[in-house]
Structure formats: structure tokens, C-alpha cells
């Protein structure tokens, strides 16, 4: 799998804060490895980091670059560079049929409707799911909807795919199928998760804690440290602080 140095995401002292409250700070990263995992507890800022990398929000300090582009401002170019898969497919599906849903992204990239339709049919055929084309989205199971959202993202041909808790709520067989599908994809994949098992096979794992990088290295080393810290926290008593 090729290294993604030239399209890799680069954060330079990037930070993000809202109403004087800092969520992320001092992040300097150059993400080039084919499979990267970002691990952290809920509330560590990992979803905010994903949105920052994708350009859905702009950093309040420092900068984020994808190649030479600024993802927050060069939105049109970013569509074909970065794909994002969010946790809940029901928050992503906009159309009543599979075909329309898949064609949406291609149309937004500028393709004419007939071309988009043809590309969708071809992609579905390649996945052995030609019969999905006219299927109503509500007839798909949860796992199938997840799959549909992934396909919609992959179809746009991004160089980088960001995944937010990709296995949340999926049963084991569905997880295995999804993992197998992801492993075979060509784009760089950056996975955000709170679960070490999700990122265990990544080339590089970054541990985010309270908006800062706590560890950054191989999956084995970072996840070992992470596991120990989490166990220690789990053995101690309650989570009594209320934010804000």
C-alpha cells in the first residue's frame, strides 16, 4: 500500500476551542501511514479532531493542510480528497432509494445524472449488489445501511477516508465483514475509536487525551499503555465531575 506523504494530512500546532473553552490544543501531526488509528476516551476530543482534519471546522489556532489545500476553505476540492463515514447511518441517508443515495455524492462532484447513475450501477455490480439499485433505503438492515454509507463515500474516490467509530452498534459478523471490506480499500484510512480492538491492526496509533497527544507510535506499544491506563481508571471509582 503506497505511503501517502504528498496527500497526507498535516496539522501544525493546531487547536480548536469554543467560547473560551479549549477542546484541542498543540496538535502537530503528519499523517502518512496507510492505516492510522486515533484512540481516546469519550470526550477526549477525537471527534472534534476528525472534523478538523476533514475541514468541517476550521482550527482556532495553528493550521491544517491536506497536501497544499486548506480543508476548511477549499471545500470543493476536499470532496474528492477526503471521505467521511459518521457513526449513525440514519443521520447520513438522505434519499429514499439506494441508487439515489449513492449518486448524490457523484452529482455534487459535478457528474451529470446519467454518468452518475452508470457509475453507481457499475459499483453495485462490482460489489455483487446490483439488485440494490432501486431498493428503498428503509428496507436495509442496520448493517446494510452502514455499508451503504461506506459505499457512498468510497464511490467519490477519496484519497483519504475518515471513520468515526465504524463498528459502533454492529453485530460481530457485520463487524467482520466491514473490517474485511475496509482492509481491502486503497485510500488511506484514519479510524477514530474508543475501542482498542478497532485500531489494533493499524500501522500507527495516536492516543488523544483531553485534547492533547498522549502517545503516538505503533499499535502494539500505544494500545498497551492505553489499556493499562483505562483499566486503572475503570478500577477507580465513579465519574462524578460534570462538565461546564
Amino acid at each position: 500500500m503506497p505511503d501517502h506523504a504528498h496527500t497526507g494530512i498535516r496539522l501544525i500546532e493546531a487547536g480548536y476551542g469554543v467560547a473560551g473553552h479549549s477542546i484541542l490544543s498543540g496538535l502537530s501531526l503528519h499523517l502518512t501511514q496507510p492505516r492510522i488509528g486515533i484512540i481516546g476516551r469519550n470526550g477526549s476530543g477525537k471527534t472534534t479532531l476528525l472534523r478538523l482534519m476533514a475541514g468541517l471546522i476550521a482550527p482556532t489556532t495553528g493550521s491544517v493542510r491536506v497536501g497544499s489545500l486548506d480543508p476548511a476553505h477549499d471545500r470543493r476540492e476536499m470532496l474528492s480528497q477526503i471521505g467521511i463515514l459518521f457513526q449513525n447511518p440514519d443521520h447520513q441517508i438522505l434519499f429514499p432509494t439506494v441508487g439515489e443515495e449513492l449518486a448524490f455524492g457523484l452529482r455534487q462532484l459535478g457528474q451529470a445524472l446519467p454518468d452518475a447513475k452508470a457509475a453507481v450501477r457499475a459499483a453495485l455490480a462490482q460489489e455483487g449488489r446490483s439488485h440494490w439499485y432501486g431498493a428503498p433505503t428503509h428496507t436495509l438492515s442496520h448493517g446494510q445501511r452502514h455499508y451503504l454509507c461506506l459505499l457512498a463515500v468510497v464511490l467519490m474516490g477519496p484519497a483519504i477516508i475518515l471513520l468515526d467509530e465504524p463498528f459502533a452498534g454492529l453485530d460481530l459478523p457485520t463487524q467482520m465483514r466491514l473490517a474485511r471490506k475496509l482492509a481491502g480499500l486503497a485510500p488511506q484510512i484514519i479510524t477514530i475509536s474508543h475501542d482498542p480492538a478497532t485500531v489494533a491492526t493499524c500501522d500507527r496509533v495516536i492516543w488523544l487525551e483531553a485534547g492533547r497527544i498522549r502517545a503516538d507510535g505503533t499499535a502494539a506499544s500505544v494500545l498497551a499503555a492505553f489499556g493499562t491506563a483505562m483499566r486503572r481508571l475503570g478500577e477507580a471509582d465513579a465519574d462524578t465531575d460534570i462538565a461546564g
Partner: protein, 182 residues
């Protein structure tokens, strides 16, 4: 019944949310606030009675001082302003819109458009224009003239409300409370 209460409350919340989120695009480039569509959707999705109650609940919360009207407006002041007629007309508009979707057997999209048009424009303006006339010391004709610039936008919103209602029926058949057997 719990189901009615839940739907009424959550759609009142939806109207509020539609006033709080950024505007959505009409056709590329022209932003509109989705809140008035939310009013019509209460009728076309929930039906006449529940829809009207959802809007009334929303207005009650605005009246007690929550800034839920688009633009962060709220409190008793909005009921003392020239647009008070429209506010009073909102629940009636939702009721009429819902009634048409419930009673007219045309396809959902067409019924919803008719509902949104007759309820969300004809009935709503029938309350809004006299309201403005009284508050601004103008004749009905003059008040109507004042309201006309908003008509094209509202027409399009009625169309969108119909599309959304129809879309819901397509994406989840049976989800519309106004068309239980769909």
C-alpha cells in the same frame, strides 16, 4: 395517550430547532429559514389535531420567554408586534394543512402541497394580514401589499414541505401519522 403527547412535544421541539439551526438552501444560493416549513410539517406529518397542538405548545413556550422564533426572538414582545396575526394563524394553518392531508385521498405529495398551500399560505395570511392592518393602522389592501414580497418564498416553502412529506412517506412507509395506512 402517551404516543400523542410524545409526538406533539417532539415536533414542538423540531419547530424550535428549525429556528435555531443555520438556514438551508432553497435552490443553490438562496437561504431560507426552515421554521415556517416546520409549522406546515406539523400538520402534514402529524395530522390536524396533533399538528395544531404541537404548534400551540411551541407558541406557549415562546410566550413564556424562550427565544425559539427564528432569529432568537421570543417572549411576550413578539405577540405585541405587527406579525402577531401570523403567530395566531400558525396553529390554524397547521390544523388546516393536516386536515387536507388526512381527508383528501390524493397522493401524499399532492395532498401535502395543497395542505401547505391552503393552510400555510391562504389561512395563515388570512390571520396575518388583518393582524398587520390593525397593528399598523393600515387598510387590509395596504397590509396585503406589505405581505406580498413574502409570498414567493412562502410558496416555495409550501412546495418543499410537500416534498419533505412525500419523502418521509417514501423513506418510511407508514411513518406519517396523517396517513396511518400508507
Amino acid at each position: 395517550m402517551e404516543k400523542n403527547l410524545a409526538h406533539i412535544a417532539l415536533f414542538a421541539a423540531l419547530i424550535a430547532v428549525l429556528g435555531l439551526v443555520p438556514k438551508i438552501d432553497l435552490i443553490s444560493g438562496v437561504p431560507i429559514t426552515a421554521q415556517s416549513m416546520g409549522i406546515m410539517l406539523c400538520g402534514t406529518v402529524l395530522g390536524a389535531k396533533r399538528g395544531a397542538l404541537a404548534v400551540l405548545l411551541f407558541l406557549a413556550l415562546v410566550a413564556v420567554g424562550l427565544p425559539l422564533l427564528s432569529g432568537g426572538r421570543g417572549g411576550l414582545g413578539v405577540f405585541a408586534s405587527p406579525s402577531v396575526g401570523f403567530l395566531i394563524g400558525f396553529p390554524v394553518a397547521a390544523f388546516v394543512a393536516g386536515l387536507i392531508v388526512e381527508r383528501w385521498t390524493a397522493t401524499v405529495g399532492i395532498a401535502a402541497f395543497a395542505g401547505a398551500f391552503i393552510g400555510g399560505i391562504i389561512v395563515l395570511y388570512a390571520f396575518g394580514i388583518p393582524g398587520m392592518a390593525v397593528m399598523l393602522d393600515k387598510s387590509m389592501v395596504e397590509a396585503a401589499a406589505l405581505a406580498t414580497p413574502f409570498l414567493p418564498g412562502d410558496l416555495i416553502k409550501a412546495g418543499l414541505a410537500a416534498l419533505i412529506t412525500q419523502g418521509i412517506a417514501q423513506m418510511r412507509p407508514g411513518a406519517l401519522l396523517s396517513r396511518p395506512q400508507a
